[in-house]
């Protein structure tokens, strides 16, 4: 399975945020979408998730690079973890999980609700509290858990580790790595070290375009410096 983006353009009035995004993402890998603050990472995800309209271009799924059959990307194919997690505040964690499993009739849960909580390391005393009272990290874990249950083909993670404490960040990394098989994961971040640590491939969102980077070269300190210099050139989106 591949996720193909074809000359995607997004303008806000005269401001060109995504100028020509043209890229193919492959299955079973975590792609680190690296870009400066304001480079258009969230805009890129919002376009794919259908939250905002694109100016031009297209994106779709295909079985492999030889396949000519285009598989349209449907809402149910996408799992989107937003940087500021939002959860239905009037429900408890348990109630929300129950509801989520029930509406995903096509998914057969392989665990009980408490086992899911255990898997995500969500403390027992949080499970029956309103989601509005959850910490940022626990809300993030809830969102990740829901994406695991829904099992989408394409997972978009918008800076999910930002503002998490070190323990929760490590737990989240572990979960993200364990879930990469059978799906395409795109992980946006503005932190080079996080991208290097977690991702299989690094893609630079720079001046409205995606540019792949050979991850192995990142060990070379000069190359890191070169990337930082390149990012300095960018016109802020």
């Amino acid at each position: 399975m591949e996720f193909v983006i074809n000359h995607l353009v997004k303008n806000y009035g005269s401001k060109k945020v995504l100028k020509d995004v043209d890229f193919v993402f492959g299955e079973g890998k975590i792609y680190g979408l690296l870009g400066r603050n304001g480079s258009g990472k969230t805009t890129f995800f919002n376009c794919i998730n259908g939250d905002i309209d694109t100016t031009s271009g297209s994106f779709y799924l295909r079985e492999n690079s030889d396949s000519k059959e285009i598989i349209p990307l449907l809402p149910e194919d996408i799992g989107y973890l937003v940087s500021t997690p939002t959860v239905p505040e009037f429900m408890t964690g348990r109630e929300f999980l129950k509801f989520f499993i029930e509406v995903h009739e096509e998914v057969t849960p392989d665990r009980t609700i408490d086992e899911y909580f255990d898997y995500m390391m969500i403390p027992e005393d949080d499970r029956d509290r309103l989601l509005k009272d959850y910490s940022h990290g626990t809300k993030n874990k809830m969102q990740m858990l829901l994406n695991i249950i829904a099992s989408p083909r394409l997972v978009l993670l918008d800076e999910p580790l930002t503002s998490l404490d070190v323990v929760i960040a490590e737990e989240m990394k572990k979960v993200i790595r364990s879930q990469k098989q059978g799906r395409i994961t795109i992980f946006s971040t503005h932190l080079l070290d996080v991208a290097v640590d977690l991702c299989d491939e690094i893609v630079l969102l720079h001046n409205g375009r995606l540019e792949p980077i050979d991850k192995n070269e990142l060990n070379d300190n000069d190359f890191k410096i070169k990337i930082i210099e390149a990012l300095k050139d960018q016109d802020d989106a």
Binding site: P75, Y80, E89, F90
Partner: protein, 579 residues
Amino acid sequence: MLKDFFNTLVKVIHLRSIIGYNGLVFALRKTPVIGKLIPDRLYSTAFLKIIYWVIHVVAEVCKLFAGKIFGLGMIYLISFFLKTEYLEYNMASGVSGSALYAGFALSLFVVYALYGILLNIPVFRCTPEKEYLVFMIRMNPRKLNNTLFIYDLAKLVIGYQIAGIVAVVTGCPFWVWLGIPVLAVFIKLFGTGVLAFSYRIKNDHHKPLKSSALGMVFKIVTVILSAPVVLMFIANGHYVPLHIALIVCAVHILLGIRGLSVLMKFDAGLHRRALRDNIVKYEELIHKEPDKTKSFKRLKAKGSVKGNKKGFEYLNALFVKRHSGMLMVKPIAFAVFVLVLLGLLIAEFIYGYYHQFGGDNCIRMVMNNLLNIILFKCYDDPLLPFEMTSVASFFRWLVQYHLLGLVVLISGTDNSGKSTQAMYINCDNSLMTFSFFKQRDKIIKLFDIRLKQLIKINIIPALAFALAANLILFYTGGQDYPFQYLATFVVASSLSIIYSTIWLSLYYLFQPYTTSVNVKGGMYKVVSVITAIVFMILFFIPCNSLILAGILAVFTVFFVLLMRKAVYKHAPETWKLKV
């Protein structure tokens, strides 16, 4: 020192004008239609900034004089009027005109100034420019507050001296004209000193340095209760002799000196704390969208869903349970209010019969007419022929021919707008980030459940209004044709269903809310206004109730199906987060 004073003052006024200018541009850019034409660069247009600066200075000068000239000018005029009247009617024998004038002017001014310091002492109010200067630029708060305080006192003296023109014209003694501005300064020093003293005590007790709500209520009540006493005092021909007025003024001058000494000891740390505790949330009001979500966040994890509800049914039941206060209170309160009112009217009516004809006849009449209602028959009152008053006939005419007017009452009690806001802010706002929530079949499933729920909530007051309309019909001669009572219920229910459907559909088709529940969608606003206009026009269309009920019943079914179809077709594209 003087240079320092002017430097600080210029900084504050400059900052105030920048904040004002940016606030104005921001407000213009937020205005529908016009906003889109205003470019970002307006924020940095020097020419417009200069114009705004000039306007700002003019406004400052106007503010300086307008209030003071009006307030003190009125006191001089009243004093002049009272002096003339008292002399004409010989109510102050042996007192000269100028002494009488001075006594009135001084005593009224002291009351006026005391009211002023009770209700408004702005020294410790932390306006945006103070917030930036103290908490970001870290300017010495004592220096800033003192500079602005001296500036205020200077404005007071100049403003009051100019108001003295009225005094000169009306023959006020010269020394009063010169003395009142000085007295004003001392009274202000006294008031500010008292406030500073109370803040110092609060600080010693680790309490916030701000006026409590109870204190504010006390001050307002004092003003409200004492004002009539002052007026009665004068109206009864009394006056404060000049020597007493002078003693009162002298006491206030002494208190002012004491206030000054308290202020001198009020150090920078206390100034900073006082400012921190009195920050004016101007920033949120002018520069940012006000966050209206607070009232939606008062949730508790109480109760659970009974029965075997699953999926979206479960979500909705839980939503209603956790938001019952928000969703139900308004419609039920209106319904109960209408029903209690009706109950009282009915009780009064029955009591009237009972009083006049005794228990048996009264019961017979009530039972007879209850049967008439059930059988949709006409009003039948053998005991007392109904006397139609003009008011009663007007209401009867409304119920007979203008039942569509019920839409005005129904729109007032309908809670759909608030309900969709609650849905968005506490539920959909987050679920919209999940793909399943955007699937067509799931959207329509939840729409159906929510529509039923909204109808159930909003129909309660609509039925109460229908009952009221029917009782008007009943007591003013009964129905004109069979099933007229039933028609009233059908019309009210249909209008309520249409109203609920419109608002829920608009929410799904335009999703106008931002994360702070402000309405952003221009199209939503346009459609809302058109809907309101159509409903207002409906009020004036005369129609036979029975025909209306038939048409509305069919139209309601057609309308709900149409809107449902529109939501099914378009909501996957329209019902989403405002990014």
